[in-house]
Symmetry: C2
Subunit: 391 residues, 2 copies
């Protein structure tokens, strides 16, 4: 991972000391030439200042730099927060000699506090002086808040005779819930791709990956997933249905999304919930997300209890009309519930629940639609982490 580089991109990281934690907390991603950009943002109606600014700027279709900070979300910070976000991008643009409008900003951390601008300005100077082609893992670390490990996925592929690189990095941990789920995810590639194709494909892929994970049902004010494609490899720009690149991007996004669920605050188990035989995709998603978010299900999984009644109760309360007498539930390959009734597989199921990765499969016998969600268990550790997050 240390030697990853994507032609045409330079990066740097630094310590701005935004919080008391002594870690690198700001990062800069720079493309030597304007790159096509696409992004999706939180649907929370309260959006952080950097989200509003970046959302406006990516409409141009091009970007060249992204400044990212952890430790402070710059959300609910009013006009001053908006001025601060703009000022940061202006400093970056000036230092890199690129247009302000091509300069983006993403923030994550505590809501409701102004950015410590003097510290950040000093940090920006460092960022501008230390740009280099490698060190992506440091970027992944710099954007972490309560994540326990950096999330990096790197893939290479071929388009005709040219080989392309695709890098994804993300951070997650808390305030994670389907509806533009990850707090921050960045995809960097040297492929050339037509803007509207990139934009539509990216939205689709985000909805099938990041929007399918949940840690705690809380949607952040800062969620952003963003892709930069600078076309450095000089291929004929992709225009539609390019299965090799789409698959590569999908896999990268899915791997990152799963990492976020796995690294949910305090989590000890990674949970996959598959809903099969649903009457519609929407119904399948609704049921999968409701089960994934049920804190009674999540605590039972933490305790290793095959308490399937809680899964049934969650299925029943999500607003989809189901027939309980038709429902089968599997834990892995163990048929825990058949036709709505317990199947005396509790001992097997208990053993299965000692694993770190749990798959719950729900069969509704109402159709042929399917959806999968990713989640984690809810632990006393999660509660403690979030009870004393700021202290």
């Amino acid at each position: 991972m240390k030697n990853i580089f994507i032609p045409g991109f330079l990066i740097s990281t630094a310590k701005a000391h935004i919080t008391a934690v002594n870690k690198e907390d700001i990062a800069l991603i720079y493309s030597k030439i304007p790159a096509h950009v696409a992004a999706t943002f939180t649907r929370n109606s309260i959006k952080a200042a950097p989200v509003k600014l970046t959302k406006r700027r990516i409409k141009l279709g091009f970007a060249q730099a992204i400044f990212i900070n952890s430790g402070n979300a710059n959300a609910c910070t009013g006009k001053q927060g908006e001025r601060d976000a703009k000022e940061i991008t202006a400093l970056i643009a000036k230092g890199l000699k690129i247009p302000k409008k091509y300069t983006l900003i993403c923030s994550t951390g505590v809501i409701g506090e102004l950015l410590p601008m003097e510290k950040i300005k000093k940090g920006i100077k460092e960022l501008l002086m230390s740009l280099k082609p490698t060190g992506w893992e440091n970027v992944a670390k710099a954007i972490m808040t309560t994540d326990t490990f950096p999330k990096v996925v790197f893939k290479k592929g071929r388009i005709g005779k040219k080989s392309f690189s695709l890098l994804g990095i993300a951070k997650g941990a808390g305030m994670i819930m389907p509806n533009m789920a990850t707090m921050l995810a960045f995809f960097i590639t040297d492929i050339a791709i037509e803007h509207s194709y990139l934009s539509n494909m990216f939205k689709d892929i985000v909805s099938q990956t990041f929007n399918r994970i949940t840690v705690d049902g809380d949607t952040s004010t800062n969620d952003t997933a963003l892709i930069l494609a600078n076309g450095y490899i000089g291929n004929e720009p992709l225009r539609k249905n390019h299965s090799i690149f789409e698959e590569c991007l999908f896999e990268t996004a899915l791997e990152l999304a799963k990492m976020i669920a796995k690294d949910g605050e305090g989590a000890t188990k990674f949970i996959t919930i598959e809903v099969h035989q649903a009457p519609s995709l929407k119904a399948a998603e609704k049921i999968a997300k409701t089960v994934a978010n049920s804190i009674l299900v999540k605590t039972a999984l933490y305790g290793g209890e095959p308490n399937w009644g809680r899964i049934m109760a969650a299925i029943g309360r999500c607003g989809v009309a189901v027939n309980p007498n038709k429902i089968d539930i599997y834990l892995g390959n163990i048929p825990l519930v058949q036709a709505g009734a317990g199947n005396n597989k509790e001992d097997e199921a208990k053993k299965y629940l000692t694993h770190k990765e749990i798959i719950i499969k729900i069969f509704l016998r109402m159709g042929d639609k399917k959806a999968t969600c990713y989640s984690c268990d809810l632990t006393p550790e999660y509660v403690k982490l979030n009870a004393y997050y700021r202290t």
Copy 2:
């Protein structure tokens, strides 16, 4: 409380040993004459066998007996579960020499296990032999699962020259969420009241009390609130808008609902969330419930952290379009957030959060509608309780 009695009603409790816990776990409420009955039930589309049976029978408008058990919900138990519920009511009806159709049943506890019918039959014999006019607190105790205290409210009032009694008992603790919230609540009165008036008023009152509380966002398969009015005092039956009785019933229901929120599993704090100046009642309720259910808000309150950013994020994600720059948030009387920005009241707020009862007031400046929700904090104890509920 020990001497509460409601003319015309007899009660009894017994140990059926449904679970390993050595406590009284079945109860019988009997009205010497057919009483008017009204009820509301869970909106979970998966309903327990006793809910389905009782729901059918109360349509007659009259009832004379309620059998209640804790320890086993008789939910997701298929045809056998339905036969068991019927058999129990048949035994009660036979013993009391009343019509089966006037005999109701409510269950609470683990989902997905068949009732231990032999034990329950033995218990029923005891119940039938030990009916007496007092001991309501024992009924409140017998229906408890993880509740830490019995929930009983008793009021007296006057209608003209006649005095009436109104008793409410309830159990809550887990799987509590607005949408017919309490698992079980019973109201017993000796007033005479016209059936359709009782029925409509009761629904209204439940929606403003039990449906405004949440512990964990999970709606049970067994929720039932039920009122019996036997008319023993011989008043002219109430027909409409009787403010004295309505207020008495509302207050009783609200007190019980608050007790349930206060006694949420593992809870250390009772939280009231008021949303003011909302554009509609629906918007006010949505925001209040989303804040009440946010596990990030609930954990922050447990930790005593005035992390208002989480309150803002919850307001923003619930689907109501709000203007964050207009929002004020108070903790008690402390103006924590004004016009969407922090107000440097953190020290005061931290001190306030050491209290056992917390009030969060949200002002939206978007209209004049108001809603209040009741909830509790989320603690490591909740997680532990629910991780090992069945062991």
